[in-house]
Amino acid sequence: MSSHNESILREPLITGKDITYAQITDDILLPVENKPNKAWWIGFTVAALGAMLWVVSVGYTFWTGIGAWGLNKTVGWAWDITDFVWWVGIGHAGTLISAVLLLFRQNWRNSINRSAEAMTIFAVICAATYVVAHMGRPWLAYWIFPLPNQFGSLWVNFNSPLVWDAFAISTYFTVSLVFWYCGLLPDIATVRDRATGLKQRIYSILSFGWNGSVKTWQRFEIVSLILAGISTPLVLSVHTIVSMDFATSVIPGWHTTIFPPYFVAGAIFSGFAMVQTLLLILRKVMNFENYITMFHIESMNKIIMVTGSIVGIAYLTELFIAWYSGSEYEMYAFANRVAGPYAWAYWAMMTCNVISPQLFWFKKIRTSIPISWVLSIIVNIGMWFERFVIIVTSLHRDYLPSSWAMFYPTWVDVGIFVGSIGLFFTLFLLFLRFLPGIAIAEVKLLLKSASLQQKTKLVQEGAFPEDQVEYFRNSLEKYDTVTEEDIKALRKK
């Protein structure tokens, strides 16, 4: 976007000295253009083993039947749908970052959108596997779509939230993929231009003939905006529809009108936590510290804090409404969550999702990289428990006490979940190896406006009043990539 002079009050989005466009390209393409390092190989091996576990567990399930899981006559969904919702939720941050933040001109998204979108796609792939795997007869999964068929006049049930879900997830996946790939085009072209031989040919095909002309850039900008426009409602709709899988039922604890906003907030909450988990490692391992700065980390922590609070309010509202409804089944469902046999899961959820993000009120904590990372993982544990609590504790004790039952997972349940994490990281690590993990073109846009070196230059030129510069200097203290020298250099010459 434009390279107007940005207010000095805004914190820099790129740090480091003497950064040039070429340097950005070199830095970001380092993992793509070189042999992977040891850290990548270790990570990849672990992730691939996880993915293997996933293949084994899902294969075993397909071979023997859903009975391989711990489900029973009362609890018909448990880890499968918990994992499904968890992964779909995680995907949401990517869409929010790429679409909503683009529309709101939040430039800081430029450094993190690529990875976040990739994360979205891989998370949705993981989620989609559960849609198929949880079916009793997965080979008939295509029946979920209203395909013309010769079975007679068979059609889908448009009243069923599961049909809406199938549409929501497939739309979400398609739009996210297209959006992500369009954004990748200029960067793939960059890789192409620097590569030789077979690699060049492959990237050449992948770049869809990007030629870097003004017209191309113009179209690129327009397509990005259009796709952002299409994606934005998806941020709200996908998890709203996922929540309707529960909200439209008659089961106490599921039949709740608060679910759509509560699920969307929870999704963004968990999505940002996952982005945080990934990027804190990524910036360290890939040496992206200058592009993914403390400002990014802190901003995401703030979002986590806000959405965590929304989720917390939703939890409390649920309890209040359960009491206020006067419905004995509703009241029991929530009393059972709080104090029943799965109370440990409820309190794990409460601790992880409501209490732990409140720590981000302290600046020290939200700018601390190790604490942020730990908390981001805690949040995702909490969000997994949230779905588990909603699904299992509502089902296991519903209307007729005669049917009340406990759910105990089997090794296959655990295997598929752990395996899906392996699958996710396998895909993510392959992505980092073959595609630029940061949007090169978009980061370059920031270099002449929002980078520290640009701001330093302007300060040295005396473009800003001293009190504003002082404010700016203070704001740099939290940056781990900004040295004393850098701050000292912020003086009018």
């Binding site: 023997t64 039947g65 859903i66 009975g67 711990g70 489900l71 029973n72 006559k73 009362t74 018909g76 969904w77 949880h134 079916m135 009793g136 007869r137 997965p138 008939l140 999964a141 029946w143 979920i144 068979l154 059609w155 889908v156 049930n157 009243n159 069923s160 939230p161 599961l162 049909v163 199938a166 899988d245 439209t248 039922s249 008659v250 089961i251 004995e328 089944y329 029991y332 089902l395 004790r397 519903d398 209307y399 007729l400 006490p401 005669s402 049917s403 009340w404 039952a405 406990m406």
Partner: protein, 1003 residues
């Protein structure tokens, strides 16, 4: 004219250029490089694009052709000449009988698939108990012997016959006894066959012995009335019933018949007339009968006699010593005695004890109450249990002394069910030649020299006489499947009577039973039974010495009292153990504990706490020198200081399903005063290890919810609407849905909670009718039983004045003794909701509503998201987690082509990954409609019966068309007591329940 015109194709041909001449020599214009290709060099020649495409095309074509293998063919051979009576798809029905009850066997294409009570029969019950419904499976049991055996090796019948006849002749020559040991035989033909053998071999004796013995009652009646029989009980004539440890609705004598009579004074029709009997139960373990009692007192086995003495004293005004029992029981005893006296002539006392003295006392009480005649019928007496413990003792003594030359065992398995198995084994070993008629090499048969495998009743000719004057016929519905021969035919053969069993049975009937009835053999085959009994019994007066009996009772109670008292009982599901290999019965939950696939030690929760045992714990029970570890169940209602254990488990040689299920409890029994006694002094201690029982219900209280509504009879009399709490009466309901017309039929059901005793025979009938797979113990533990119909059982614990239904309140309550408990049984099945929550959530419309008000399930369309089951408020949907009916891991019974013949061809088996649930026997509805159409009439009320309904002797389930205002079900649903479970969530269920009414003292 000959034409010599010549057409040329081109200038080359006209001009005959050298190139053309050269080219026209070969068949092809261009030479084909066959040689080049075939020699080795050819492989390295450059392949032109066209050749490549040709090869590709050929390859593809060849592979396609090769792949066009026909799918495996299962040949369905049509009839070349169709048997006249068989039309494929149309069932045939045959009258037969099982355990003396006249039944109708349904066969399809020559194979029996189910049986129901003969609707026209009189004399016994109109429903079937669980073992009767399940018995059809025994025909298809793979564990049965397929040929006669001598010494464990298959032989021909001729060889066996020779060996047996030799042995018989040898015994006769040696002057030794020939004994036929059997359970009760009331079949005239079997008795005639035995008589035929006795005619040839005069040393033949017939010893009848029942595993669970009633010889105490027989002997007591001999003492009291000079009539050594077990009477028939007519509970429909009793307004007050007091039972002392008799599970008379379940396993005691003819439980199913008693149920039918008993319910007649308690169901909705009786209540409409303002009448309800009162039932008071004294017992130690919570039996099914006890769970239905209006008032129940927990007593120890040693107190049974005291309660009866107390009752006798209170009723007759005598003061025999020994009539004191625990405080609570004493209070109830006094009230009970007053009730009995008030209802004199319509009051009866029954006792489960097999002790002669106890039964003599009971006879005296009933005599004083004037129960003989109307309620207790000694004229049309029962012949279901004629076993004599004393006779069996004599046999053992004779055998041990080497006096028995040949012993036959017919439906008798003493090595398993005699309390001193080693004793029985030793005695058998002393017999020169031993033959079993068992259909399998069971515990006894495998110890014997020869096995002459009997047919099942579905393959045999025969008859029965369960009651004096009632005769039922058994006719075969299929040829013997294996090389078996029915026992009667074997006996005739060995007796040298050269007659087919058919002729023999026919002759027996024509000469004895049918004489004077004006009926012919053919009539019997069609009707299935002949009833010659009188309508009412006559009065009898007891003339035994009550004082002596009471003294003996007090003396005998010391044998049991002191320490923990053990009570053995016959479970209502597995009975005495003979049906142990029937998977349907193994998976039928116990009506009270809801345990499947095991027996257990039931102890009071307070005792358990004192012992330090929890659920899934184990205890060691030791009594009468026998010691065994049993999983424990904390049973509310169990008397403190007692432990109850079911017999009939722990079989070792019965077959795949029944082997090693549970623990054999028969060795705990003892022989006292000539009869087998099932109570003993025991020690119970905590054992190591954990054992999870497979229960179908693990939460036992209703948590204060109004899903079961109950009232007292007094309140009901004031207001029949009492406690029915119909939501629609007090609330406006709103409807988001379109109303659909149901112009034809609207199939609905009414369930009378007052009539349901919880016995579970409907569950088995449903399993058999709808091919519901048995899943086995492990899957039940995982809460995956497939029953479409279940019976929910809830406890209310009484603690002083308070009735506690919430688990938390119960846990907090002080001084709870867990002895006072009230129980309710609620059959739960698909409610066929008009606004079915399952239907809206199915993504593929696999479950939809019919225009007749039914919730259909299209298995083929289901791909198994399980959302419907999650969204079912009644949790009645069942998912096929595995391919249960055809998977080697669930090989309880069905995983072979032979047993699969039991499947009802009208109902599809469900594959893995598919949801299923009660279909309201849609196949029966269709058949009923079709029949009406063929007969060009409307469907009449009663034409169509659900399998569960047909099995229910209590008539607790009423099915029919709600659009017909005169139908039974419409009338029943207009009853004031009707409510709908969970009606407040507006799913509009189609099954109405009637409030449970208890005739309690307080109200």
């Amino acid at each position: 004219m000959e034409s010599n015109k010549k057409y040329w194709k081109g200038l080359e041909e006209l001009n005959q250029t050298p190139a053309f001449v050269e080219g026209s020599k070969g068949e092809f214009a261009e030479s084909i490089p066959v040689e080049d290709v075939l020699n080795e060099a050819g492989l390295s020649t450059k392949t032109p694009r066209r050749d490549f495409l040709k090869a590709l095309g050929f390859g593809l074509g060849a592979v396609t052709l090769a792949a066009c293998n026909r799918t495996p063919i299962h040949k369905a051979v049509p009839y070349v000449i169709k048997p006249e009576e068989i039309t494929p798809g149309i069932p045939n029905f045959y009258a037969s009988s099982f355990n003396g009850q006249s039944v109708i066997v349904r066969t399809r294409e020559g194979r029996p698939i189910s049986l129901e009570a003969n609707p026209n029969a009189v004399g016994l019950n109109q429903g079937t108990d669980a073992s009767t419904s399940a018995s059809v499976l025994d025909l298809y049991d793979m564990s049965k012997l397929q040929a006669p055996q001598i010494g464990g090796k298959d032989v021909s019948w001729a060889q066996l016959d020779k060996a047996v006849v030799d042995a018989l002749n040898k015994a006769q020559a040696a002057g030794k006894q020939i004994t036929i040991v059997s359970d009760t035989v009331n079949s005239p033909s079997t008795l005639a066959a035995i008589a035929a053998l006795a005619a040839k071999y005069p040393a033949t004796q017939h010893v009848q012995v029942d595993a669970v013995s009633y010889s105490g009652i027989i002997e007591a009646n001999r003492a009291s009335f000079g009539k050594a029989v077990i009477p028939s009980y007519h509970f429909d004539n009793a307004q007050v019933v007091v039972s002392v440890a008799a599970d008379f609705l379940g396993s005691w004598l003819a439980g199913e018949e008693h149920t039918q009579d008993y319910i007649k004074n308690r169901d909705h029709k009786s209540l409409k007339g303002g009448k309800m009997s009162r039932h008071i139960q004294f017992e130690s373990g919570l039996s099914m009968t006890g769970s239905n009692a209006d008032v129940r007192a927990a007593i120890k086995p040693s107190e049974e006699g005291a309660v009866l003495i107390g009752l006798y004293n209170a009723i007759t005004g005598s003061s025999i010593a020994g009539g004191t029992t625990n405080a609570k029981a004493t209070t109830i005893l006094k009230l009970a005695a007053a009730e009995l006296v008030k209802a004199r002539g319509a009051a009866v006392v029954v006792a489960g004890s097999n002790d002669i003295n106890t039964q003599v006392l009971v006879n005296a009480i009933n005599s004083a109450l004037g129960a003989y005649g109307s309620i207790i019928d000694l004229d049309n007496y029962s012949k279901q249990y004629q076993g004599s413990d004393a006779a069996f003792q004599q046999f053992l003594t004779a055998a041990k002394a080497g006096q028995v030359g040949v012993a036959f065992f017919l439906n008798s398995n003493p090595v398993y069910n005699y309390f001193k198995a080693e004793d029985a084994k030793a005695a058998i070993a002393k017999v020169d030649y031993t033959v079993s008629f068992a259909d399998r090499a069971d515990e006894t048969a495998s110890e014997l020299k020869a096995i002459a495998p009997n047919c099942t009743f579905l393959e045999a000719w025969g008859d029965a006489s369960a009651k004096e004057g009632l005769f039922t016929i058994i006719q075969p519905t299929i040829n013997p499947v294996f090389n078996t021969r029915q026992a009667e035919q074997s006996l005739l053969t060995w007796a040298g009577v050269n007659k087919s069993i058919h002729d023999f049975v026919k002759e027996t009937w024509e000469t004895t039973i049918l004489a004077g009835t004006g009926k012919a053999w053919k009539d019997v085959l069609q009707q299935g039974f002949v009833y010659k009994g009188s309508t009412t019994g006559s009065a009898y007066a007891s003339n035994a010495d009550v004082n002596a009996a009471a003294a003996a009772i007090v003396n005998d109670s010391k044998r049991v009292s002191g320490g923990v008292e053990l009570k053995l009982y016959e479970s209502t599901t597995l009975r005495d153990g003979r049906y142990a290999n029937n998977a349907y019965l193994q998976e039928l939950p116990d009506p009270v504990s809801k345990v499947t696939w095991d027996n257990y030690a039931a102890i009071n929760p307070v005792d358990a706490e004192e012992l330090g045992v929890k659920e899934t714990g184990k205890v060691t029970v030791e009594a009468n020198g026998y010691k065994v570890d049993l999983p424990v169940i904390l049973q509310p209602g169990q008397a403190r200081g007692t432990v109850s254990v079911a017999v009939g488990y722990g079989r070792t040689k019965v077959g795949k399903a029944g082997n090693e299920v549970g623990v054999n409890a028969y060795p705990f029994a003892s022989l006292v005063n000539g009869t087998i006694q099932l109570s003993a002094k025991a020690t119970v201690s905590k054992a190591s290890g954990i054992y999870e029982l497979a229960q179908t219900q693990t939460h036992h209280t209703i948590e204060g919810r109004n899903i079961v509504r109950e009232t007292s009879f007094a309140k009901y009399l004031k207001d029949p609407n009492s406690e029915s709490g119909r939501f629609a009466d007090t609330h406006q309901t709103y409807d988001l849905w379109n109303k659909f017309e149901q112009p034809g039929h609207r199939w609905v059901m009414a369930i009378d909670l007052n009539a349901c005793t919880g016995c579970g025979s409907c569950i088995v009938a449903c399993n058999v009718e709808n091919n519901i797979p048995v899943v086995g113990r492990d899957e039940v533990r995982r809460r995956r039983e497939m029953h479409w119909l279940r019976i929910d059982r809830y406890y209310t614990l009484e603690n002083g004045e308070a009735s506690l239904t919430k688990e938390k309140e119960i846990a907090k309550a002080d001084g709870m003794d867990y002895e006072s408990v009230t129980v309710v049984h609620q059959p739960m099945l698909c409610q066929h909701c008009e606004h079915a929550p399952c239907e809206t959530v199915c993504p593929v419309l696999a479950t939809v509503h019919s225009s007749e008000g039914l919730n259909h399930m299209a298995y083929n369309r289901c791909f198994g998201t399980r959302y419907c089951a999650n969204n079912c408020p009644y949790k009645v949907r069942r998912f096929n987690w595995f391919n249960y009916w055809n998977d080697s891991r669930f090989d309880n019974y069905l995983n072979n082509e032979f047993t699969q013949l039991v499947l009802n061809p009208d109902v599809t088996t469900r594959s893995r990954g598919v949801m299923e649930k009660c279909s309201m026997c849609i196949q029966r509805i269709q058949a009923g409609k079709l029949q009406a159409k063929i007969e060009n009439r409307k469907v009449k009320d009663g034409d169509i019966k659900m399998a569960c309904q047909a099995a229910c002797s209590a008539n607790a389930i009423i099915f029919g068309d709600a659009n017909d205002p005169e139908s039974e079900v419409s009338k029943a649903l207009r009853n004031e007591r009707v409510y709908y479970v969970l009606e407040e969530i507006n799913v509009q269920p189609n099954i109405g329940y009637m409030t449970k009414v208890r005739n309690t003292f307080e109200a």
